[in-house]
């Protein structure tokens, strides 16, 4: 498929411009260098007004003639060229696939262009920020992860899908959910509930929680991947539905929530199109143990990593709110964390029949 739409043409233009600039330097016997927006914690700012994490202006120079950069420099253009080819051919592939496409042994050496995917993934992100292109514009997607069910019909690549009739597994959320791929149709939902854990999502689905409570039920199976986050954002914006997040009561759970809410450090450049600053933290709160009278024996002791992460989070500007400081401090003081499954101690459907309805009814969430 040789035909490329305007968006693809633009992306290819950006890629080859990057290459031409380098060649221009080379021809002038100047040291070629790439200016890559830095994706480190130091270059991330919290925009209080918009309540999202944003990438700063800091750039790092990637120089061909720097022993520490040379390899990455080569890799950047290897990836760039592979993406160009994908776009040219009208194909889209996973970042894992791209790793295999670009991997080969360097001429006259025993080294490979990439040793593992951990080496190629960050280069893709570098390229995205350098030429300011979305991953999908590079015809790449991450591995699918995440499911959804609920009272809504969507169109996925032209196929209408009724999210009420998907049995126990639900609709698998693709990593590219742009409007040209996914469109929303009639919707009965009143809110969106994202749960961290697949097991809890299954419980809620089996109990048809979404039907009784008129909500779209999603899981990102841990940290929500790009596709899930982008979908949340679109549904929040386009369907004007509030977003609730249900995570374990531990620092990692809080962090998952915060990423949904204002973006991640790593993908700060995507915050604007993914972060849902109004997302509500429905649970599980450090105060729930008492409120719902969970026995002590279902708690888990905080480990060292939990403690240090919680302490770090106390300092994050986006957790610098009274309620959040209280959450974190209560957790640290108690020295324990809780999994969502702990509610099963009070009955297998306690979470869907008692806990969640009560929390929503009582408006016991944090924002």
């Amino acid at each position: 498929m040789a035909s490329t739409d305007a968006r693809d043409k633009k992306t290819i233009g950006k890629l080859s411009k990057l290459a031409r600039e380098v060649v221009r330097d080379i021809n002038a016997e100047k040291d070629p260098s790439l200016s890559i927006p830095s994706r480190s914690l130091g270059n991330v700012t919290f925009d209080e007004a918009r309540s999202i994490i944003e990438l700063g202006d800091q750039k790092q120079q990637r120089q061909l003639f720097n022993v520490a950069h040379a390899r990455k420099f080569m890799q950047t253009f290897l990836i760039a060229d592979a993406c160009r080819e994908l776009i040219d051919e009208g194909k889209t592939t996973s970042i894992r696939d791209l790793y295999y496409i670009t991997k080969h042994t360097l001429e006259g050496s025993r080294q490979n262009t990439f040793e593992d995917q951990d080496e190629s993934d960050p280069i893709i992100e570098d390229l995205e920020v350098t030429i300011d292109a979305l991953r999908e514009e590079l015809h790449l997607f991450a591995t699918n992860k995440g499911s959804m069910v609920g009272p809504m019909t969507i169109v996925d690549s032209g196929d209408a899908i009724d999210l009420r009739r998907l049995g126990s597994g639900g609709w698998s959320i693709p990593s590219i959910v742009e409007s040209n791929v996914i469109q929303f149709q009639e919707c009965d939902a009143e809110y969106i509930l994202l749960v961290e854990k697949d097991a809890v999502w299954r419980r809620l689905n089996e109990d048809k929680f979404w039907r009784a409570n008129k909500c779209l039920l999603l899981t990102g199976q841990g940290m929500a991947p790009r596709g899930v986050r982008r979908l949340l954002y679109r549904m929040h914006k386009e369907l004007k539905l509030p977003v609730y997040v249900l995570v374990d009561n531990d620092p990692w759970g809080f962090y998952i929530y915060s990423v949904i809410k204002q973006g991640s450090i790593n993908l700060a450049y995507e915050s604007l199109r993914m972060a849902v600053p109004k997302a509500r933290f429905i649970g599980m709160s450090s105060m729930d143990r008492e409120a719902f009278q969970l026995p002590d024996n279902v708690t888990i002791k905080l480990n060292d990593q939990d403690i240090s992460r919680a302490k770090q989070m106390l300092a994050y500007p986006w957790f610098d709110k009274k309620a959040w400081q209280k959450e974190l401090k209560t957790m640290l003081r108690s020295g324990v964390k809780l999994e969502l499954e702990a509610f099963s101690n009070k009955g297998i459907s306690y979470i869907s029949e008692e806990y969640l309805p009560k929390k929503i009814r009582d408006r016991k969430w944090l924002a």
Partner: protein, 691 residues
Amino acid sequence: MVRATSTQKNDAAPKKPAKKGRRASAESMAQKQREISVSEFFTKNRHLLGFDNPSKALLTTVKEAVDNSLDACEEAGIPPELRVEIHQTAEDRYRVVVEDNGPGIVKAQIPKIFGKLLYGSKFHRLKQSRGQQGIGISAAGMYGQLTTGKPVVVTSKTGKGRPAHQYEIVLDTRKNQPNILADTTIDWERREHGTRVEIELQGNYRAGRRSVDEYLEQVGIANPHATITYVPPNNRAPLMLERVTDELPPETTEIKPHPYGIELGMLIKLMKESTHRSVSGTLQAEFSRVTARVAHQICETAGLRPTATAKRLGPQEIEKLYRAIPKVKVMAPPTNCIVPIGEELINRGLARELRAAIYASSTRPPTVYRGNPFRVEVGLAYGGDLRRMAIEEDSLTIKAKTEDRGEGPITLLRFANRVPLQYQQSACAIFKAVVDTSWKSYGLSQPRGGLPVGPMVLLVHIASVWVPFTSESKEAIAHYPEIIKEMKLALREVGRKLNAFLRRREKDRLQEKRRSIFSMYIGELARSLSRLGAGDETRIQKKLDVLVAKHAPQREVAVAAGASEVADSPVGLVEMSDDGELDDGELELDREEPRQLSLVDDDAPSAPKASKKKAAPKKKAAPKKKAAPKKKAPARKATSKKTTTKKTATKKTATKKTATKKTATKKTATKKTATKKTAKKKTAPKKGRRS
């Protein structure tokens, strides 16, 4: 020693006899003892002279003869040409032949020199020479005679047209007198003058550590002005060492003892035997640096009249005098009597034996311990092929310790007045100085209290009118703090040079690594860029190559040879130049100017060049100039290059890049020819080309 003999005689005598009889026999014995004790004593205590076992006996015999030959040649101002042969005559018997082109020995002297212990020309003087005692060669002859019954055969000729005398001599051990078995006159066409000594002895030949081979190799290193041909036994390949300089070391001069170094017994002897009337006169006449004023001060401090008659001083008075000396300030002794090998010649001496990547050396200015002037110098050869070039593989004694490049401890070569010291390393002041030097700061690892580790041969030489050995066997140098301090200073100087080289080489390696990293990626990059529509792949690649060359400049060596060993070659220090000789480059740059003596010394500033003799000025000049202008092998082309002076060397640093490239390319060529040359030498040892 007299006592040893007499005790034995006493034991043999019956215990009972009356006092009178015993006294009478003691007296008669005393008479005999004076004549026979020396040789008898040494017959029974041969280990004191280095004949404790068969292999050491063979080594000592060669050593005594070679040391004498070198001493004689130098004293007569003749560039030494030596030939050493060892022939096996029976299972445990060897005939040692040492021949020199020295001044020869006058006929009348020959029997006594070779047939009488304690007969020599070097004992009664204070002068830097290898031999000192007057025992060496006659002891070797005596040992041979005792173990084989064969006489020493000496042939000597004192000048062109003169007859050569050939003696067969045995030593009458009871009388310590020579017995002449044969005395003939022969034609000795081959030599205009010189001496040939043949001794047959019971011994054991072996290669390796502490062997004759090793000894001669080391003699070669410390005596670059000597040509030595060595024919080992058992049809092993001969060793042919050609001199690397025509210039003899400047003549050493004799000095009088310095009062600070005197011992009481010696002072008593001097006073008793004085030909001068007064104490003051005697002091002035017998010692160096004792002026009338100083003599008066000594007498005054001792509470003696300067005009007192020297011969009449009682023992207490002499002791007072003895105690007074250190309290009076006396100028340091003259130091021009000490002749070092010199920095340049040390490097070339090392290069004659080894093909190292770098040579560096340092000669300290003269200084004094206990009234004796001395100088210390140090040389090192690092990396490369630390292997003797001229002799067959399995006898490479130096290599034996260093071939596992960098694994084992360095090889330490110790010298005293140019004589290799092969025994008692750990008891020696040199060892202590090396061990106490912190080699880590110069880029070598070093176990606690041990020699540094690495592919290195380290040479330490002490030259003195009197080398303080720990014992008569002349194997280890005593731990005088002044001596150890000088040694450490010299070691530090070469250490710094080594460090500069190692750092430089590390830099080169890093550059090479950078280059390989860049080159590995640019091909891939050029392809991607081209496919992204940025231009033609080969054109981009070419441009990238230019940039790589700019960022990781390549040493031409690597391109030319592709041999890592050559790439190891030093830049800025001593390198092998295209004629296989040394090219000292910037070697001199970081050399400190010789420092003055700490003691007051009017001679000191000019000391290194103060010798009145003709050779003196050259001595100072030699290490500074790139090389003596008329070196060996005038036929070779490259000599013209050698006229560069120190200044040019400085410039060279500035334009290092170009210089480096040049030498580097040349070097590659050298390597090949050098190897060929060696091969030739192995099969056909030539005679010294200059005689």
